[in-house]
């Protein structure tokens, strides 16, 4: 155990949490509204990273401005994709959507490979490796890391505002909570699904655009990150953005402390998120919120296994 490290490790973890949260919002939104796990998430992030690269190379657009273009673009792509393809499988068994989106990932990956080759790319601007020091705490922080963290926080605030204050947002929330009731009160669930899918894809793209400035990428980019996103949204209880942010923080702290404070080998770091994913699914099917929430009514027996997540339709 190395407590001397705890401050820098914790700061690093908080910054990392911003990154984890940013990449999980899109996945969480799509899951919430449509009960679909977007297995093409990694592909979308990768595609957005390359788009950012192309915008810079071809039009000289500074990468940090890229989200302004990338997000609307992917929003439209996402909506179109939902309308043309995903809608066809609404109501099918969950595994169908999983496989379909997986196939989309394969196709995107292959397309990227054809267009940009398998070579690893990175975006290098004067600001991408700059950092600043806080002498008092003996801390060095990369500007880009801080930027991604802030983007994660700002996105959360905007999303919260959007969901609680706008009609569309409220409709999305209502659909997330109960699709059938939402229909009954006159919400156009079909249209909401399409918009939500678009926003979800746009959020994944935002993550990809931001990551392109701190991580190298190739067509295979995002595989591990996607698994971590799963862990984050499962930890976060699957349907709330605040939950996702908390999940991201918990996962990042667990990973960074395991390595930095408890001296785990770096090579094993990803094991933390993989085990978190599996254990939380089994033990806490409703994520961390179920630990924090109201004490459940006393039960003589533990919850029946089959009441584990069944797509929001318990009982």
């Amino acid at each position: 155990m190395d407590l001397g490290n705890i401050l820098p490790v914790t700061v690093g973890a908080i910054l990392l949490a911003g990154l984890y949260a940013t990449m999980s919002y899109g996945l969480g939104l799509i899951y919430g509204v449509m009960r679909i796990v977007n297995l093409s998430h990694a592909g979308i992030m990768m595609l957005a990273a390359y788009t950012t690269l192309m915008l810079y190379r071809s039009f000289g657009i500074e990468p940090y401005l890229a989200p302004v273009i990338v997000m609307p673009l992917f929003f439209v792509i996402g909506m179109g994709f939902q309308r043309l393809i995903v809608r066809r499988i609404t109501g099918a068994a969950p595994i169908v959507s999983l496989l379909l989106l997986f196939s989309v990932w394969l196709i995107i990956q292959n397309a990227a490979y054809l267009i940009w080759s398998g070579n690893t790319q990175s975006i290098l601007r004067p600001y991408t490796t700059r950092s600043f020091r806080i002498e008092a705490l003996d801390l060095t922080i990369g500007w880009m890391r801080l930027g991604v963290f802030l983007a994660g926080v700002v996105t959360l605030i905007i999303l919260q505002f959007f969901l609680t204050r706008t009609y569309l947002g409220k409709a999305i929330r209502a659909t997330t909570q109960d699709r059938d009731s939402a229909k009954l009160v006159g919400i156009d669930v079909d249209r909401i699904s399409m918009v939500a899918f678009g926003i979800g894809i746009a959020l994944s793209a935002l993550a990809g655009a931001l990551f392109s400035m701190i991580l190298p990428f190739n067509p295979d980019f995002g595989r591990v990150l996607m698994l971590k996103s799963f862990a984050v949204i499962v930890l976060g209880g699957l349907t709330s953005f605040v939950g996702i942010a908390v999940g991201a923080l918990v996962l990042a702290l667990a990973e960074e402390w395991a390595v930095g404070v408890f001296g785990m080998q770096t090579a094993l770091k990803d094991l933390v998120s993989f085990s978190a994913l599996v254990l939380v699914l089994i033990l806490l099917p409703n994520g961390l919120p179920s630990l924090l929430g109201r004490m459940p009514v006393w039960r003589t027996k533990p919850a029946r296994p089959t009441t584990a997540p069944t797509g929001g339709k318990a009982a």
Partner: protein, 364 residues
């Protein structure tokens, strides 16, 4: 609506299952044995250093895996992305026991398969509480975690990222490898046929279509899933061991790879998930794409495109098309086409088939 949501895609599972025993059994078993015999004779006529032996060996290995995955993923509807763990454990257990403990190859193979089956029970039981994609995603987590453990903490045993080499001394000839793999395909096919027509298969189909109804009728769904997973794991473990003995080199990043699991899913789903023949077709297509078309190339505006470059996308495309239009896979397509060529009852059969795979009729 709720009923419709409950309907599983793989009700296709039972599509080909209806006919009773008797002539069909004779035909299926007889046909399989006959095909195997032809392939065996074909193998014997090849010179010992023929690439065909090696290629056939790989095809049989893939087919076995596809059939084995289908036992739990198709019949039982439990989409596992974690079968690489069985492959890896089978390969490593066999290799280590044979190389370091000097165990007889056959015993080492069996031990590897058994190891895989035991491991399947270890992660299967807790995970079977999860439904739908929660199960699928959890299996990805399991597989990746297992790979990491094999890679790092068990480095001394597995060779870590550098892999584990076996001595060339114990390696059998290509002909014997071909025959072993062929025998394994045959055995797996017969097992698959048997399961399909047994009480176990009936229970699996039932829990696949409606787990809750199956439970009320006395089906211990967790137990059945565990049994089918263990059976599947045992077979995949065997293929792992056979692979290790043929390649004499294994690597955690290779035998525990996500792509190994993916291949099994792809082969089964593309061929026709839950059907008897589908997984075989799927494996053949998979190997053909990989081996045969891998070399094709087209030149366009002075740039040469290798077919290999679009291989992954092609699997993706096939998968997407199958899911959107023909959930019963290529087998379903074959049946549909066959149905079209028959004058009478043909259209009815097609309609029935479609109804079977798409929305269920009649329910509110």
């Amino acid at each position: 609506m709720t009923v419709k949501e409950r309907e599983r895609q793989s009700t296709a599972a039972a599509a080909t299952r209806r006919a009773g025993p008797g002539r069909e059994a004779l035909f299926a078993v007889g046909g399989a044995v006959l095909a195997a015999a032809i392939l065996a004779i074909f193998g014997l006529t090849l010179p010992a250093n023929s690439y065909l032996l090696f290629s056939g060996f790989l095809l049989f290995l893939f087919t076995t895996q596809s059939l084995a995955w289908n036992l739990v993923g198709g019949y039982g509807g439990q989409t596992s992305f974690g079968h690489a763990t069985f492959y890896g454990i089978g390969a490593y257990t066999t290799a280590l026991l044979q190389e370091n403990a000097g165990l007889h190859p056959v015993l080492a193979l069996l031990a590897g398969a058994l190891g895989a089956a035991v491991f399947s029970v270890i992660w299967g039981y807790p995970l079977f509480r999860l439904r739908g994609f929660y199960f699928a995603i959890a299996t990805i987590g399991i597989a990746e975690a297992t790979r990491l453990v094999a890679l790092s903490p068990l480095r001394e045993l597995t060779g870590g990222a550098s892999g584990f080499r076996m001595s060339t001394a114990g390696a059998g000839g290509r002909t014997s490898q071909y025959m072993t793999a062929l025998a394994l395909v045959l055995a797996t096919f017969l097992t698959s046929y048997w399961v399909r027509n047994s009480k176990l298969g009936l229970g699996l189909f039932a829990l696949n279509m409606d787990p809750e109804a199956a439970e009320t009728l006395g089906v211990d769904t967790t137990r059945l899933k565990a049994i089918s997973l263990a059976l599947s794991a045992f077979i995949v473990g065997l293929t792992g061991g056979i692979y290790a003995r043929a390649f004499l080199y294994i690597n955690p990043n290779d035998v525990f790879a996500f792509s190994v699991s993916i291949a099994m899913v792809l082969m089964s789903v593309i061929g026709g998930v839950g059907t008897l023949i589908g997984p075989i077709l799927g494996a053949v297509i998979y190997v053909v794409i990989q081996d045969q078309l891998g070399a094709a190339q087209i030149t366009f505006r002075g740039q040469t495109f290798q077919f290999r470059d679009v291989q992954l996308g092609l699997y993706g495309l096939l998968l997407a098309l199958i899911i959107l239009f023909e959930p019963a896979g290529l087998v379903g397509l074959f049946q549909r086409v066959a149905g079209r060529f028959r004058r009478r009852g043909g259209t009815q059969a097609v309609a029935e088939q479609q109804a079977l795979l798409r929305n269920e009729t009649g329910d509110e």
